[in-house]
Subunit: 201 residues, 2 copies
DNA sequence: GAATCTATAGACCGGTCGGTCTAGTGTCAA
DNA sequence: TTGACACTAGACCGACCGGTCTATAGATTC
């Protein structure tokens, strides 16, 4: 064990610093030097672990964020809670995160998604795959609750859309209101949809 | 800095170039030189019209975008179409814009909203005000259709959230699907809400 | 213990960034 | 004709950008 116990491995510190930066300012908003100060690492170490430089580090950060999100989602779904309760819990968690980050930290995918151009093929692909993975999980959870597949897909896309848009509005407003309002309206939709399913059955 | 009714063409070209850039890559993603090539203007002219430089130009672009959006919304609402039809038309318009811009042009507010930090006070304020103005218009249109104010506010926030999130997903996916799916699920909610209102009446 | 390899360390580089500055140019009023 | 003024034009600047390079420390292998 070459490194001190309290500090995570250098590679992980770099990824964590990039993740944090992507949530706060996006890809073009951060400089390498700032990133390295945050990660307490010299420049050489970045290009040792990520020969592709800033881009490769960003991709790693995105992948790490996606796997964090999807596994949290999996856990939530596996817990057996009904969709409305699960979504409600998720939104409440987002509100807590927003407050904890003083409205400065958002979704690690969103900003980069909007900043990226057609040339940023790899990054875009990674983000698109991340969104798709999240939608798929939501969708199959809804199907498991009796929603027909086509409707489940539309609903899960709406959930992701609403979540991202709510985070965006809440951040610029510096207020939880957009998040809570979005959540309340959204939850009502899901509930009525599930009730309809039950009625038919 | 109040300005007479007639604006110099150059000023407008600068604003247009910035608007376009904000939709494609966001604030930090564009360079001044690129902007000036696009606007066919030399550097001096930028600082003549916008002494505050890049930031002031971005603010002007955002204000211009907001007034374009709100007046389009006003027109749509004034046309007397019922909320569902109006929203449906709006979403269809967004899809057309997405395709026209080959999925490279998104909302002029969204990217900057996510890139901005607490220090970018003016820009954030402008964006927050823009979102609020849009929500207010939607909300009062819903109230006019019989929705109770509190529910109308939540619903209008959800509409904006869904719209922004759908644009985001559609862009990275390079596909209209996230937009159409979001729209269909959302429209159904509004419809059922309005039906409920009618039932009570 | 020499050789090798991974990881750390930071000086250094060319290019580009946003921004300033000075020099014109065209228009209009006196 | 001249002076004032709004606007155009682009050379120029220091700072910072992402990225490369060489040096070295520590662990591992033979």
């Amino acid at each position: 064990m070459t490194r001190s116990a309290e500090l995570p491995a250098t590679r992980d510190r770099l990824i964590a610093a990039m993740s944090d930066a992507l949530q706060r300012r996006g890809y073009h908003g951060v400089g390498l030097s700032e990133l390295l100060v945050e990660a307490q690492a010299p420049k050489g170490v970045l290009y040792h672990h990520f020969p592709g430089g800033k881009t490769e580090l960003a991709i790693a950060a995105i992948q790490s964020a996606v796997s964090r999100l999807t596994s949290a989602l999996d856990r939530l779904i596996a817990s057996g809670a009904d969709p409305v309760a699960a979504l409600s819990a998720w939104m409440a968690g987002a509100e807590k995160q927003l407050e904890k980050g003083r409205f400065e930290k958002g979704c690690p995918l969103a900003t980069v998604a909007l900043e990226s151009t057609a040339e940023d093929e790899t990054i875009r692909g990674e983000i698109a795959a991340g969104f798709a993975a999240i939608r798929d999980r939501l969708s199959s959870a809804l199907v498991a609750s009796g929603v027909v597949p086509a409707k489940a897909r539309a609903l899960s896309t709406l959930i992701v859309s609403a979540y991202e848009g709510a985070l965006m509005q809440a951040r610029v407003a510096g207020s939880l209101a957009p998040m809570t309002e979005t959540a309340s309206a959204l939850l009502q939709l899901i509930q009525s949809e599930l009730d309809a399913v039950k009625g038919i059955r």
